[in-house]
Subunit: 200 residues, 4 copies
DNA sequence: TATGAATGAGAGTTCATTCAT
DNA sequence: AATGAATGAACTCTCATTCAT
């Protein structure tokens, strides 16, 4: 990572841009090298194939994000009072949103391609999916143990939470483009804690 | 739609199978005709291109599903008492799950390809996404108006609900291949109404 | 073999020509299709790769030649009298020369490429080499058994004979081009039977 | 030749190894420099191209071998008595085998590539072929003049002898990898002098 | 309507060679 | 003399599409 040459960095950046713009399959190696401003053959001095640069990008992203998510989700449902819990959840959501936004291009890329392409990157997608689900489930279990949360299946709840996070970020950041994330954080925290706040 | 010949139907079925198995880009027209048991050229008697058969499949699916969803979601948060509301929500969820399962191949196809492929089918995906979001938002608004639901942004809530539905179905049906949907319906209804049931 | 289309035949002919002219490695698929008068892609409707057309050509040649050689070499050292033996050997040599000349292009191709190219076609070459050596050795053994030939190692003798045949044909047909083969047949028969006719 | 640097020698040695292992076309310059332990660009400080290093190797070999063969073959059919002639022929064969074995890698290389590659090194191969044929023919002529050999076409006989030598060495050293050359020398001497020792 | 051989643009990849350091 | 990153022409192979039968 640290020993990457200027050219290699340019290729990675160009590849992320092009993959995001055109998708993995539609991106030509010639698009990448053109965007990086190098010759066609130069690509193969750094990456064995188009598939390999994609995998490298995904793996780098996963390593980076894994560490940060582990730290952040630690305190998802921490706190002694109602307000403290709410505040902590809010902080976690803010962090997650931030991490996602910082890595927006790769994150989108991975979620896009992970489930498309006839399974070419299925295992990468499922790896990261399971990583997230595990992290969330652990925190929900802690919340239940502490007596804050009253729900009987933390695994399923983790899927619900992940779906909300992922699609919400996808929709507002990528489909709608411009959105005030702060308000969204509030609403997401509320929904997680109370759902639609049904009172019969 | 009505006047489809045996050959055309075979091609559509084969195309759905192959697109689902291998993804849009990885599916060759030769795969489709082989699966349909017709000659290469026959494909082009019925469809102008590989892209067009995909669009036709998606549009057919959307037309079919649109009508059913409109009907089903009508009564999402109907009911006078707490139990009636819960029961209605549950019924809607069950219906949605059923519709999804009945059209599993195309549904998966559309969600997969809609966000992949560099936007080739972006507009199809966004059409159906907006259709669902609108339907859900309307029902949430009705629930708020009736005083059952206490939430201030029905649009955002619709995104949350859609994300949960979509990723939950994706995860359990396609990643986990676990088809015990009934328990899932319960948990989803509970989560929608109460979130993680936080009590501070 | 019989069901080959006009195009396939044209490709095979063109491939033999080009391989012979330029060698396997230097021959481009584009050379072959140009010589055959078809489009680039047409090649791959008939052959999976450049390597496969080469193997097919070699295998066809081997099958064809195997049958004829088995028949011809049958009577290599047959005969009751000195003159009959000499005449039979002569006839066999003539047949072998004829078969070789009829398949000159492929024969040259196979002997050329079989020992070059870093072993890509090593096994093909060794197959045909062993086929020939076995056939010759058997006949030499028969000649020894009949008391005509006085030599103690028929296997090594087979290598000598093969070397003479192969290099002689190679040299006179391909290096020298124009050569009266009939006289050569005489001389080869003599040499085989008497060597340099040393009398000390 | 005399002023070769350590680097140049390493490149030549590496090139011979790689050409022998993989063939001329399949050997990449990067294989050679890797085997020589120098950088890619260093190659071009010593050789103008891949083709030139091959030619240099062949020419060096030819110069070296030419001198030795001229000396050795001098006495091929020398001698006054039958036994002396046989002994001299035997000695020559032994020398030739020895020279061949000492230069096995390059010799194999030259014979392999000389007739492959669509004539790229055709002239080199024909040069050395003609060198050998001339040397052998001269000796056969001497043998005839002395009254030892009874054969009417020394040129053709030279081709026969060369074919036997070349293919025999090729077959036993390179295909069979059997290095018991002594017995082979005996048998070759016998065959040259008497052929299959036919007695009708 | 059905066929399937033919097409050819365009993809990913290789590698001999160059040249600034 | 040595380096090795950069080059780009040239290669093999793919596959959506056409069209004569």
């Amino acid at each position: 990572m640290e020993g990457e040459s200027r050219t290699q960095k340019a290729l990675v950046k160009a590849a992320i841009d092009m993959f995001q713009q055109k998708g993995y399959q539609m991106t030509r190696v010639s698009d990448i090298v053109a965007a990086a401003g190098v010759a066609q053959g130069t690509f193969y001095n750094y990456f064995r194939s188009k598939e390999m640069i994609f995998r490298e990008i995904c793996n780098d992203f996963m390593e980076q994000v894994r560490a940060r998510f582990v730290l952040r989700t630690q305190h998802m449902f921490d706190g002694e009072t109602s307000d403290e819990v709410r505040e902590n959840l809010h902080a976690v959501i803010r962090d997650v949103f931030t991490i996602y936004q910082e890595n927006l291009a790769v994150a989108e890329l991975l979620f896009r391609e992970g489930i498309g392409n006839g399974g070419l990157f299925k295992e990468i997608y499922e790896d990261i999916l399971n990583l997230f689900l595990d992290l969330i489930r652990e925190q929900v279990e802690k919340g239940i143990a502490k007596g804050f949360l009253h729900i009987d299946d933390p695994e399923v709840a983790a899927v619900f939470l992940f779906g909300m996070f992922e699609r919400t970020l996808f929709y507002f950041l990528l489909v709608r483009k411009n959105r005030d994330m702060e308000k969204l954080e509030d609403k997401l925290a509320d929904f997680i804690l109370k759902g639609l706040s049904f009172e019969g």
